[in-house]
């Protein structure tokens, strides 16, 4: 799993996607798979109830378990539900992009993800750093920031800094706010000031960047974990890996999984997605038209009032 990369990649993705897409949706999509799974992966005790998965890696990324949250199909289903309920293409697309970014990022650890679930339960991984949820929260943090995982986070921090314009006030108000109806809603309904909105927008960058250093220093000076920047490190963590069958079977599983995913996505699009997309487009156009009407009426009323005032004088 990745730590700060999930926050940081949202900023880069929002900048490079050429169509209208919600930043908040990308951010939420990047968090989504772990939001609903990670709490239980480490185990918890509450109100006399105790839950500690025997194999956190299998539970988190496999089936049976909550591994389906890290599959491409899950992102598609969630996006369709959002498109259906909220009629917002920017949010549906943002959630899908954010979710898929999380899934592809998690391929980098040693356990990987079930990309083609439910058509295949095969995990795919490049094993760049060791998966360490079985070590508990702190052990996981220590292992991650003692391995190439920390370098991966730094890579994304560098990517955001290279795209530094995404953090400017101007970019936020001209691009992020303009592409997402939620920000004006925050302002209108919650009476949020511009300073607060901007702080909220930048907060996840600052949090992502700072947690890299906080956890890194903690691992070095408090936990005193040895740094190991070799592929698949750190060496001192209990190894758990994605299990691969013989190459022929792997190819067959992958082909069937990819074909099943592609076919089901096509069917979903033809049966549901296309209609919902069209409906959302119409809804957005109607909304824009209503806004334009209101915009044309308000100045007229205003100038009418002014004229009346002038006559009265």
């Amino acid at each position: 799993m990745s730590w700060a990369a999930h926050e940081l990649e949202s900023y880069v993705l929002q900048k490079h996607i050429k169509t209208k897409v919600s930043f908040l949706a990308i951010l939420l999509g990047c968090f989504w798979p772990d939001m609903i799974s990670k709490g239980t992966v480490y185990g918890f005790d509450a109100f006399g109830f105790s839950f500690h998965p025997k194999n956190p890696d299998l539970y988190h990324r496999g089936w049976p378990g909550v591994g389906f949250t890290h599959s491409l199909m899950y992102g598609v289903v969630i996006s369709l539900i959002v498109l259906w309920v909220f009629k917002s293409r920017a949010w549906a697309l943002g959630l899908l992009i954010g979710h898929w970014a999380h899934v592809f990022t998690d391929i980098c650890d040693s356990v990987g993800v079930m990309l083609f679930f439910p058509f295949s339960t095969q995990n795919y991984s490049i094993g760049m750093w060791a998966y360490a949820a079985q070590q508990g929260r702190y052990g996981d943090a220590s292992a991650y920031y003692s391995s190439l995982g920390g370098v991966w986070d730094l890579f994304w921090l560098g990517m955001v800094l290279l795209s530094w314009k995404v953090l400017t006030r101007n970019y936020f108000f001209t691009k992020v706010v303009a592409d997402d109806p939620v920000w004006p809603w925050f302002k209108r309904r919650l009476k949020m000031s511009e300073v607060l909105m901007l702080a909220l927008y930048r907060a996840y960058f600052l949090y992502g960047a700072c947690r890299i250093f906080a956890w890194f220093f903690w691992s070095r000076f408090v936990d005193k974990a040895p740094l190991d920047l070799s592929w698949g490190g750190p060496y001192w963590v209990e190894k758990v890996h994605a299990k691969y069958p013989p190459i022929g079977e792997l190819l067959l599983r992958s082909t069937l999984g990819a074909a099943g995913l592609a076919a089901s996505m096509w069917v979903l699009w033809m049966v549901v997605g296309r209609r919902l997309w069209g409906r959302a487009e119409k809804h957005e156009k109607a909304r824009a038209l209503a806004n334009a009407k209101r915009a044309s009426q308000v100045p007229r009323q205003k100038s009418g009032r002014d004229m009346a005032g002038a006559k009265g004088q």
Binding site: E194, L206, K302
Partner: protein
């Protein structure tokens, strides 16, 4: 119409999107009567603060009532040109706020770990620090203006 749109916002949970910047601007214009602020909404849509101010001048609307709403810490000055030094001051306060936020988060994270370093508590802490520094900045500025006025 405004009521209609607000109903739509409530029914949809999320407000429905405005598909173009022009529409966003239109939405902002529709909030002109909102006591929360006219030109501030315009700024949110990406219009230049000074530009929004110019528009108000051109319309002949009551600048004295609208200019203070240009920004959260807007001066009471009626002249749009006089906002610039304040923008600079705002920028400096912003920089200090984010620097303090970053240092505080790293230190708090180092010493308290998950008491601060979670996806909810971390950003919340940052936002609170930034807003607190801005609040202090406004207080300091107000005091300076008071002292300057007394002299």
């Amino acid at each position: 119409m405004a009521a209609e749109s607000e109903q739509a916002d409530e029914s949809g949970g999320l407000p429905t999107p405005d598909s173009s910047p022009a529409a966003a601007g239109a939405d902002d214009a529709s909030n002109t009567d909102d006591p929360d602020g006219t030109t501030r909404e315009g700024n949110t849509a990406g219009t230049d603060t000074a530009g929004a101010d110019d528009v108000d001048h051109a319309d002949g609307t009551d600048n004295a009532s609208e200019v203070p709403e240009l920004s959260d810490t807007a001066d009471t000055s009626d002249d749009g040109e006089e906002i610039r030094p304040e923008d600079v001051r705002e920028g400096v306060v912003d920089l200090v706020a984010y620097a303090v936020g970053a240092v505080a988060l790293i230190l708090l994270g180092y010493f308290t770990q998950r008491d601060v370093l979670t996806w909810t508590r971390g950003p919340f802490t940052v936002v609170v620090i930034i807003m607190a520094v801005h609040w202090v900045g406004r207080r300091v500025q107000a005091r300076r203006e008071k002292v300057g006025g007394a002299r």
